[in-house]
């Protein structure tokens, strides 16, 4: 299986290559970056439907480091490489007037390569190494924008390191108990010979690490700042795939290593999954409503992203084959439309000179039609409008919650949709609808390099919505490999116990409805094209620049809910950080500066031990 080795070598080598060509010429480097990303997508696509392992390095204390390809790895890898490629293409236009772009492109490619390394690792040791490389390169790239991005980056890396250290403890615990770190071997060994205590320990400690990465409440506090302050194409990559490395991790620990679906673990894993499902439910409900309160476009998307992550965790933790499939599918779908939405916001940012404050934007629908279309389709996907891919994955999750007998969890998932609709519509309206402010009247359309990824992603959303069988067949293979029963999927639908989802029928019905509308349109009076600012105001003049409804968009609801939706957990963590600083400041005063004290310490040390020995004789 040297295909994977070639892939990773190309990826990491490409990073160095981009760095060096950047010194020669920036356009050469841009072309190199784009070609490299496309080559990676092709290489991953070539690995479709292959299975196997290869040892790629034995240099680390005799622990064989293994690369592995199976359906799960391939699924995540194709998403990572494609979304990464689209982000690089998008960055061509977005980063045109910025400095230090060599650093930006190299780090972006390094993050992508590290993510590919994470999903292709066949043993926990290389998993950890690639995970760490991914973390510190993300940290460096988040701080790229300077200013408030520096604080956001620091928050991210501290929480990430805490998670990594927990993961390291878990990995070494696996090594000491089972003697191997190879994932395939572990999945056999752990199943046959683990104790419930050790299982719970592993679940909690790995759950902690992956929960931080995936931003499960209460470990989510790094996410809003990071998504807001990172450079926008990179925010897209973080939101799309980097955070979902946590989902990959959860799948790895619960279903691959601990084999939750392959045997009857009474008590431990179902108990953990139960708690995780509830955490997922809380993650859905609260952040989606906080999203609605935000006035910064990227922050709104960030909180929405946390909420959608809750759906994935809920699906995976619920433990039925439909649920896990729904969770994995939702990961892919969310990645596609959140990248699309971030790109749309970035396009608006780029053309308006950096404005992402929803209170001051408006009416850009005519000026930036492709960005509007992308945002519209993205929002439909986010909400889960039928015919988009978000609808199918949400259908699967709702179905499994209802038929699985968890009404409260289903209700939580439903409430999440309400919050999402409110937040998503606010985003769309405040950016594109309403009256065009005077100062944006000269806004141009986005450049082609930005339009292309948005069109591709919109098309994908609709494609996966109408023909969900395309990804669902792959996901079905993943679910079967975990040990669940197979799902009944076809190219255009999926069957469940209580009924079938047939998207082609839906598509036909909606097309028929649209045809009827169009027919009426043609038969009726001819439409007269009107200027965007030509509105009806009962005869009075329409004031320019003052007729745009953006500020206090959901005022009554905001006033009711916002006292309950402050991020208490973030303030808790800040207080802990300040407390640690005080403790450190106190401890450093041990070193008083007075030489007499220092000699006293030496003498006290010697005498104390002699006294201890004389009184208690422990030695």
């Amino acid at each position: 299986m040297t295909g994977i080795e070639i892939l990773l070598l190309t990826a990491f080598g490409g990073v160095l290559f981009t760095c060096f060509t950047g010194r020669i010429s920036s356009s050469l480097r841009n072309i190199a970056a784009v070609i490299l990303s496309i080559v990676l997508v092709v290489l991953v696509a070539l690995l479709y439907d292959k299975n196997g392992e290869t040892v790629f390095y034995r240099g680390f204390f005799g622990i064989p480091m293994v690369l592995r390809i199976n359906t799960l790895s391939w699924f995540f890898a194709i998403a990572i490489s494609t979304l990464g490629c689209l982000s690089v293409i998008f960055s061509l236009g977005y980063m045109r007037d910025r400095k230090n772009t060599s650093f930006y492109y190299s780090m972006l490619l390094l993050v992508n390569s590290a993510m590919l390394g994470v999903v292709f690792s066949g043993d926990m040791f290389s998993f950890f190494i690639f995970w760490e490389i991914m973390s510190w390169s993300t940290f460096l790239l988040i701080s790229y924008n300077r200013g408030p991005a520096v604080g956001a980056g620091l928050k991210y890396i501290i929480m990430s390191i805490i998670g990594s250290m927990a993961m390291l403890a878990g990995i070494i615990s696996l090594y000491t108990v089972y003697g191997t770190l190879n994932i395939a071997d572990l999945s056999h060994l752990v199943l046959s010979s683990s104790t419930p205590g050790h299982q719970i320990f592993l679940l909690i400690i790995f759950g902690f690490a992956f929960g931080i990465k995936n931003a499960v409440v209460p470990l989510h506090t790094w996410l809003p700042d990071v998504y807001t302050e990172a450079p926008s194409p990179f925010s897209a990559v973080i939101a799309g795939m980097l955070t979902r490395m946590g989902v990959y991790g959860f799948l790895l620990i619960i279903y691959v290593i601990l084999g939750a679906a392959r045997s009857l673990h009474t008590g431990t894993i179902p108990g953990f999954n139960h708690i995780l499902a509830w955490l997922g439910a809380i993650t859905i409900v609260i952040p989606t409503f906080i999203a609605m309160l935000q006035n910064d476009a990227k922050r709104l998307l960030a909180w929405s992203g946390i909420g959608q992550g809750g759906y994935m965790i809920l699906g995976i933790a619920f433990g039925t084959n439909l649920g896990v499939a729904g969770g994995i599918f939702h990961t892919l779908n969310h990645a596609i439309y959140i990248v699309l939405l971030f790109m749309s916001v970035a396009a608006v940012q780029y053309r308006t000179g950096g404005v992402r404050d929803l209170n001051s934007l408006g009416g850009l629908i005519k000026k930036m039609p492709v960005a509007f279309f992308g945002a519209l389709i993205g929002i439909c996907g986010l909400i889960g409008v039928p015919l988009t891919n978000g609808f199918v994955s949400k259908w699967m999750i709702f179905k499994t919650l209802i038929t699985g007998g968890a009404p409260f969890l289903a209700f939580a998932a439903l409430i999440g949709s309400w919050g999402t609709i409110l937040a998503a519509y606010k985003l769309l309206h405040n950016m594109f609808l309403g009256q065009l402010p005077e100062r944006f009247s000269n806004t141009r359309q986005s450049p082609f390099s930005m339009k292309l990824p948005m069109i591709v992603l919109s098309f994908t959303i609709l494609l996966f919505g109408i023909l969900p069988g395309l990804p669902l067949k792959v996901i079905n293979n993943i679910v079967v490999s975990f040990g669940f029963g197979s799902l009944d999927v076809s190219l255009w639908g999926i069957v469940s116990e209580t009924g079938m989802l047939n998207t082609i029928n839906l598509f036909a019905v909606i097309l028929a409805g649209l045809a009827v509308v169009w027919l009426f349109f043609r038969i009726g009076a001819r439409a007269v094209p009107v200027n965007q600012s030509d509105n009806y105001a009962a005869g009075a003049a329409v004031p320019g620049d003052r007729y745009n409804y953006t500020v206090k968009f959901y005022d009554p609801l905001t006033r009711t809910i916002s006292p309950y939706l402050r991020d208490i957990i973030d303030s808790l963590y800040q207080k802990i950080a300040v407390f640690t600083g005080c403790v450190c400041n106190g401890i450093r005063k041990i070193y008083t500066g007075y030489i007499g004290n220092y000699i006293m310490y030496i003498v006290l040390f010697v005498s104390l031990i002699i006294i201890v020995q004389m009184v208690w004789s422990p030695w």
Partner: protein, 489 residues
Amino acid sequence: MVNPVLLIAVPLGLAFTVPLIGSASRKLTRFVPVIASLFNLILCIRLFPAVLEHPIVINLGGFAPPFGINLFVGHLGLLFAGLISLAGLIVSIYSLSYIKTGMVVKYHMLYMLLLTGATGVVLTGDIFNLFVFFEILCISSYALVAYVGDRAGIESSIKYLIQGTVGSSLLLIGIGFLYGLFGTLNMADIAQKISTVEQGSLLVPLLLIVAGLGVEAAVFPLNAWLPDAHSSAPSSISAILSGIAIEVGLYAIARIVFTVFGISDVYLFLAFLGILTLLIGELCAFAQSNIKRMLAYSSIGQIGLILFALALASNNSVTGGLFQLINHTLSKGLLFLSAGYMIYRSGSMEISSLNGMGKRMPLTSLAFTVGAFSLIGLPPFAGFPGKFLIVSGALLQGQLVINILVGLVLLSTVIEGTYFFKVVQGLYFRKADADITPERAPAAALVAMLILMLLIVVLGVYPEPVAGFLNTAASDLLDKVSYVGSVLR
């Protein structure tokens, strides 16, 4: 086969030629340490194959042990000697351009005496000889700390001198006790006779010796001299002190505790002491605003970690401790060397004055970043194999107390990460306070930093050959019987 005595004799001899050369030309004296440490390094590499088979024991003056002084060049000794000469070489290359003003001749002479003392400590097999070389090491460092000549330097040097002298006195009294108990000064002989005496009476000599050596090795209550000394010394000396001097002190403690005494009851206490040192070092470093003071406290923390690893006394953890020791020499050296020129260009030691250095001194900032990431333990740098070995060696022992201590090690890694990441962010992503024109560090310094960076990356990606050698060095330390057998044949 070359005589290992040359490892000590050549630097010592060349040290005394430095004033002679200096009276002729001041500029030429700076090449003498380079020549001496290069010679030592090549000699260590030449001795490597011979030592792999069998430790070399040299009887000085032809007197057989236990009456004469002997040198014991085993795996551990050769490792340390090689590390000392490597670090000495790199820092002397750095000093080619860094040390220009002041009493240059005396600086180079004392520098070589420091290296001689360090090499002597790690190679000797006689406990009083250890004391003598230890004193040479300490006294040279007392003087070198005051090299800059400003008020802070002289004050820290005198504080270091007083504490160091107290430590040396304790050490001497402890050695006196041992001599009174056993009538011999040879380490192997004492090791053989240790079990003939009742264990209770051994506590006082052990305690005095460990406390005496502990002052230099910077374990918790005894290390108050370190923050002042490392921050007021010139950066090349800070690198050598952090990278060599305190580690040689730790080697001496390890040799005495494991090989000479070998009383396993004290190991858990040493592990606790190590963790206490680690936590206090990292927590204090977090609160600093002066970059060299922050690095000095970080050194205290790392020494605590290495002491913890050594005190667990299993092959895996000692290998991890030795690996982390090498990593500390390389990374802390790199950090101090790069900070040296950044401080020189910006004129202030405050961390806030380092903002924006990524633009003005790109290679130096990259060196600092590599050193910082390696010290925290991030792959693909040298710190990761070290930390991994220590944590896995500790957890393999399976005791609950050790597991809790490992949790504290991981916690201190988070704290360490926090303050280093803040500085790295400041280098690249914060705006500089004043507008100074970009000026790179001179070529000699860049060469030194580049060598260290390469070594760190290579060690991080190919730790296997080094780890294999360290495994044999670990058994050299822990296996008392074979040590005694080799010497007292």
